[in-house]
């Protein structure tokens, strides 16, 4: 009975809906939260949905990781595409770099002003 769940289109649908829900959680958090720290962490959650979608959509049932082992002894036979995994490796590192830089800006901003609420920011002198 469980074989009907172990089909490639079903798993692709589950991965798509899950990634979309994760994207929605991240975007709703980024739009509704007032704390600057939580906004950047929500954007990081939304990025995680992209990683999940890219890796998951290139998975197919019966194929293994593109690494030669005792089980898989030849390149190109029963192997998934290695290019999306390499791209996502690049993307994860860049996401970490951008997140770290933005969080360091948040820390420095808090040291200067003692404020993290985006509704109370008035450094540019706008009339509220």
């Amino acid at each position: 009975m469980l074989d009907s769940f172990n089909q490639t289109p079903f798993l692709h649908g589950v991965i798509t809906i899950g990634a979309f829900l994760l994207l929605a959680i991240g975007l709703i958090g980024a739009m509704s939260k007032k704390n600057l720290f939580k906004i950047f962490l929500s954007l990081s959650i939304a990025e995680a949905s992209l990683f999940l979608y890219f890796i998951g959509m290139h998975f197919e049932v019966g194929k293994d990781a593109p690494i030669v082992t005792q089980k898989v002894t030849e390149f190109g036979v029963n192997m998934v595409d290695p290019v999306p995994q390499a791209m996502i490796l690049t993307t994860i590192v860049i996401a970490i770099a951008v997140l770290a830089l933005s969080l360091s800006f948040v820390v420095n901003y808090f040291k200067l002003t003692g404020n993290l609420d985006i509704d109370k920011m008035n450094e540019l002198g706008e009339e509220s």
Partner: protein, 235 residues
């Protein structure tokens, strides 16, 4: 018409638009089919003859698209450099955590060399098994994080050392690319003997590139961890 009513109309229109876009996007995403004869299958077909690396993801990251990895490492370096501009006198700051636990301190002393060894293992075997420079570098940085948590203010990074490791490994990474350009045909070309598939000495320049990347990433992420954990002012 009072202002309250306009806002309600706007809300209804915006929520309708958002739901229509959601349905359209879900329809596009659910009907997506990955192509079968793509770049990946071509790269897998020539992987054994050109690189002799057992891990195809590693050969794509470091050999076929080595220039991308150089740009990625540069972005990571620029991010750490931008964070370093905000640091003033890190040595006078205190840890935000202050655990005083003898078990944690002795256990951290025992675990720290093992974590460093495990990270180096993952870096060196990046062309044979899942792993590589970025993953092993982050494992090494997690060892430093354990030391920062356990020995709150006694453990400090030697900043001259981390800067030296980072600069030398970055320069070595670019040097491997330029040697490939001079000795063989292209940037990040392979100028070392290939070896046999599955052995530790195989893959040409791929282990060399990943060792440089691993050292650079471990130094950078350790500096990052120290900055984020030691931000409290000394009273």
């Amino acid at each position: 018409m009072n202002p309250k009513r306009e806002i309600r109309v706007q809300t209804i229109v915006v929520s309708l638009l958002v739901s229509i876009m959601t349905i359209l996007l879900l329809g596009i995403l659910l009907s997506f089919q990955p192509l079968s004869g793509s770049l990946g299958s071509e790269l897998l077909a020539i992987n054994q003859t050109t690189t002799q690396s057992a891990n195809a993801v590693t050969s794509v990251v470091t050999y076929f698209r080595g220039l991308d990895t150089l740009g990625e490492v540069t972005i990571l370096f620029l991010s750490i450099f931008g964070i370093g501009l905000g640091i003033e006198r890190l040595q006078e700051k205190e840890n935000i955590f202050s655990y005083d636990n003898a078990l944690l301190k002795i256990g951290a002393d025992m675990l720290f060399p093992l974590i460093i060894l495990f990270g180096l293992y993952i870096i060196i075997h990046g062309h044979l098994s899942p792993g590589g420079g970025f993953q092993g570098g982050v494992v090494i940085a997690s060892g430093f994080l354990l030391m920062f948590l356990a020995k709150n203010n006694e453990f400090k990074l030697n900043h001259k050392m981390t800067t030296l490791v980072e600069a030398l490994s970055g320069a070595g990474f670019v040097l491997v690319g330029i040697l490939g350009l001079l000795l063989v045909d292209r940037f990040f070309g392979n100028f070392l003997p290939l070896g046999t598939l599955g052995k530790l000495w195989s893959g040409g320049v791929i282990p060399l590139i990943y060792i440089f990347v691993g050292l650079k990433v471990s130094a950078e992420i350790s500096t990052l961890v120290e900055y984020f954990i030691r931000i409290k002012d000394v009273r």
